[in-house]
Symmetry: C2
Subunit: 653 residues, 2 copies
């Protein structure tokens, strides 16, 4: 006797790979049907590919066919499932894709039977005015499309750009109600469910579609089809909000979320059901596709999969900066793993090659790649220069050995010297023409970083389906402490949204939580980071990153304050940093670091604009899918000057 | 006796650099006032820097002070002038900038006298719901802010992302009327003026703020404060629309536009006035800041500066693909020049260094840079490899000589050989681990391109305020025919939105229209493009680009059809290409090229995402400020498969 979960996982495997015989399918269906209570529904927690309409529809067809064999009332897919989410501007440039998604929708309708199919797609707008498309949900049954519901509230912030492509539906643009098993279900599309005036202090929109549908159409329960991004902060908010709405309206809520990553953007699944008292009564897995069966009115068969750590983090715990990253590490890990895996799979890449410096960034990247792609698909290359220490070389080698990845060591000394000799000639030539040669420059540092990238890209050119990896981390990207065409160059950047202090914590977490314990040599975690590109003239040792920048604990708190509190320099001067509770620093020192941060950030904007794809992990980021700032905005005054000063200046000018 | 234009150009110089004495200022003002008719207004055609509130406000103060000395009724600045446009997401992350822009607004109000000041800024939203800010216009007089008008229609397409940051004002959210010289002026903000139901066949918005203000508040004339992007197609549309509205409502229209470039986005100025019969009665210069005085009710003193070629191009002339690029070349040239100049000035760079291959792309880039930055600030480097022909070397040298730019020649042979030798060792190592080495690869080609970029970035690291230039063109970027960390790498990419056939035309145009004629050697224009990175085994000569891709004439027409007609492969198969009217090609050949295009484009999406800033020139582009497409959307089916096929496939699956 198998459980419902065991049986649905057979179904998931059948769809993905196994392909059971007809008789075996019937047997699974029969066994499952014996266990299902009346009124069960399927939450189709799926991972679509943006633009791959045929692929998404073919997968949906398989899920629907399984649904047709079961004693369930409905199968519910996420928002915009057929065309994929996010869609990007291709929806306007290639209208054929929208035609395709409507034709596939009609084709899918033909295979529907008595089980209702509720599925997201892009619908053409036939009105005389407005954007060309609607973000819509189709309801299909017995070979026909029976209802169409359109989204009203269009999120256009962070990763979302709904209003670029969709016309908002009028709040009262028709019924949102469908009949499922003699009960009235109100269909809500993602953001339409996020504007409760009693729950939020400030609302983004004037109207509340949930309030409207409940008041005017009296549903017995609500179904929310979503493509909701993963965030530490967001889960607690989402839970509270959905639970609040269920209680307020005394109606169960079924929430179906997309899973998977598309480019920089990740969805965590965790689809769920609340009862009419706001109690969570069913929850699907996080970060996995799932054929999840639940019953909103009968809890006995329901299962609640635990949320991963990090999704359960409370909002309040994030109101101050902390070095205790532990609670968010499992979510961070799973988001990055899913993102690497989906990016490679969806673009057709298989293998990754990266430089192993023996430092923290490349170490964590190699470990994450190993878990996402398999050790045999990862190649780590140690590329020592004159400055590289013996410890770095042996640390890199040990790491590769522990991870079981492919490894080789290649000195870049000759490449460096050839280039350096050439530069000596060129620079003396150029100096004759331009009187602006720096007394001190990063030229030598960068030759090393760029020679290494040249090797990685060469391997990617020579071997099939291989991508080089950019190892830059978030703290250093904020400071522009990354080399163009060097360590920040690659086909993918796994840790570009992970700060340095969090990376240290993640490295320890990996050592503790991976099947193979302690793969990362303790020495790598213990040593202070440095790019090993230059010698510090004071110490005569390789320059440490914190010497070139500032203490990472302080730097990461500035980043946190910028992203989460939107603080100015003045506000930060007034605030007490965690670092200040441990170390005595003068106001002058603090101001120096703050000014350095904002100055370096201004000149780093260009670097952000050319970063490879990378998973967004934090609440806010500098990922260009989530945050854009004109490069020429480098003259922003991040301090606040006084009114008097301004008027005086204007009058005197 | 000077003309009004001569006097206002003295004012422009005084503000920018000369700094006249008080008595000289008075004399200029006096002479100007004698010429001005009653009811004159100033169209402040200004070039703000996004985020540089203090800089923009200080400039405004100077303009306002001059206005105060003149017998004019009002001075009108463009939309969002104080904070700069486009703003980007920094408006949300750094609310201090909005505070600053409001404080500077108050400071500016204090210096106003009887001349009304009409100026764009970002206003905080104090309502209980909605986005944090409004896109607003303040009207100030006699030391006070007298009116605030907010924008209702928020363009969120192409370069525009207004709805990301602004709350749309209700259409009836208060008066848009102000009194100027006893006449009622209705204030319109950019897109609010672009929704006439009688003019457009299909409207983007339901409401028309112009109709509302005219019907409900009976203005004597309309003032439109804009930040309207430059496009060949758009000018004719804009002219027709403004003229149509002036006639329809029997009211003059004053249109004040921003000028200058911010990152990828360019504004052309050409501010203007129409009379109540829809006749153009005044027009400012294109691509220049201007203190432009006009009178909407008295034409005698008004001046109409001619539009540059390309802005006057009619819509109808663009309904078919053409190789006659001539009509658009002056606009193309000025857009790129302004864009280079503003990017360098606004970010603080002065000098440019680029590789001169003797080919068309680098040649046109060098010429444009020379005109934008001055010959002394441009360094062209010839970097021959084994494959480089003697002709290419001498062409590059001749070009540099003709342009008068700095020049040197440096062989990359030793860099190539050192890297190549290293690769031989590495690849045989890697081959032991990974059984996926290509039989043929682009590895050698790319070593050359990347070694050259290494040199350019080295020079940028070693010399102050120097940017390396990426020379990729639009046709080749569509095909992904550009090397990552090679020719597509740089701090700025001048011709990334110029197709190859247009580049040929531009090169000829430059030879004819620059002060120094024929700077570009005829040989460079005459030869067929090739990257000189590899040898064609068939011809034993360097591989030509058209051999690797397809004829540029055909390629550029595909691009044109994708961007302007949004056609699918099937539609293109049915259409007759210009190339087909000259050459016999089989349907198989045509399909092969079309499929090649879409296949290569799918894998080029990543390259587009990491392109440096570059001016948007064409009606549509692949510039990431204007167009985004998820990289994982490479599985899009650009053909249209039949309904029958799909259903069959679904049923059989």
């Amino acid at each position: 006797m198998s459980t419902i979960c065991e049986l649905t996982s057979i179904i998931e495997k059948d769809i993905a790979e196994t392909h059971l015989t007809e008789s075996k399918r019937d047997a699974v269906a029969k066994e499952l049907n014996e266990k299902l209570t009346a009124g069960s529904i399927i939450l189709a927690q799926t991972n679509p590919i943006s633009g791959d309409v045929a692929g998404n529809a073919t997968k949906a067809a398989k899920w629907i066919k399984w649904a047709n064999m079961l004693n369930v009332e409905a199968i519910i897919f996420p928002e915009l499932y057929l065309i994929g989410y996010p869609i990007g501007d291709f929806i306007d440039r290639f209208p054929i894709i929208v035609e395709e998604n409507e034709e596939w929708l009609n084709a899918l309708a033909k295979i529907t039977k008595k089980v209702k199919v509720i599925i997201g797609y892009a619908k053409r707008n036939e009105e005389k005015y407005g954007k060309k498309f609607y973000n819509a949900i189709a309801v299909m049954q017995n070979g026909e499309i029976t209802n169409i519901i359109k989204k009203s509230l269009l999120p256009t912030y962070a990763e979302f750009n709904d209003y670029r492509h969709f016309e908002p539906a009028q709040i009262d643009s028709g019924s949102r109600i469908i009949d499922i098993n003699k009960k009235k279900a109100g269909i809500i599309i993602c953001e339409d469910g996020w504007n409760d005036k009693d729950f939020f202090e400030k609302n983004l929109y004037k109207d509340d579609p949930v309030e409207t549908v409940v008041k005017e159409q009296q549903p017995d329960y609500l179904i929310n089809c979503s493509s909701s991004i993963t965030r530490a902060k967001k889960e607690q908010l989402k839970h509270n909000m959905l639970s609040f709405a269920a209680q307020k309206y005394r109606t169960p809520i079924v929430y179906v979320n997309q899973v998977g990553s598309n480019d920089n953007i990740s969805f965590e699944g965790a689809s769920r059901v609340y009862d009419s008292q706001g109690k969570l009564i069913a929850m699907a897995k996080s970060y996995e596709e799932q054929f999840f069966i639940a019953n909103p009115f009968n809890t006995e068969q329901n299962k609640i999969y635990p949320l991963v750590n990090g999704l359960e983090k409370t909002l309040t715990s994030q109101k101050a900066f902390t070095l205790d990253h532990e609670p968010d590490l499992e979510r961070t890990y799973l988001t990055i793993i899913q993102s690497i895996r989906d990016y490679f799979r969806k673009t057709g890449f298989k293998r990754a090659v990266l430089g192993l410096s023996g430092g923290l960034d490349s170490t964590v990247c190699a470990t994450l790649l190993t878990d996402a792609l398999g050790a045999e698909n990862v190649l780590g290359i140690s590329m020592p220069s004159k400055i590289t220490s013996e410890e770095s070389k042996s640390d890199a080698q040990r790491l590769a050995h522990n991870l079981g990845i492919n490894f080789c060591e290649i000195s870049i000394k000759d490449m460096y010297e050839t280039t350096r000799n050439k530069f000596d000639n060129i620079f003396s030539e150029v100096e004759k023409k331009w009187d602006c040669r720096y007394k001190e420059s990063f030229t030598n540092d960068n030759i090393q970083a760029r020679s290494r990238a040249l090797i990685l890209w060469g391997i990617a050119n020579e071997f099939g389906s291989t991508l080089p990896i950019a190892t830059s981390d978030k703290s250093e990207l904020y400071m522009g402490y990354a080399t163009i065409n060097g360590d920040m160059s690659g086909g993918f950047a796994p840790i570009a949204d992970v700060t340095k202090t969090k990376l240290f914590a993640l490295a320890k977490w990996l050592n503790k939580n991976r099947t193979k314990k302690n793969a990362i040599p303790e020495e790598i975690i213990a040593k202070r980071p440095g790019a090993e590109l230059a010698i510090n003239p004071k110490t005569q040792k390789p320059l440490l990153a914190e010497e070139a920048l500032m203490p990472y604990e302080f730097l990461d708190e500035i980043i946190w304050r910028v992203e989460n509190l939107q603080q100015s320099i003045t506000q930060m001067m007034e605030a007490k940093f965690l670092y200040e509770t441990k170390e005595n620093i003068t106001p002058e020192q603090k101001m120096e670091w703050l000014e350095k941060f904002f100055k370096r950030m201004s000149t780093a904007l260009y670097k952000w604009s050319i970063m490879p794809p990378s998973p967004i992990v934090d609440a806010r980021s500098i990922n260009k899918s989530e945050y854009t700032q004109p490069i020429i905005s480098s003259k922003i005054n991040y301090k606040k000057t006084t009114q008097e000063y301004k008027i005086k200046k204007i009058i005197q000018s």
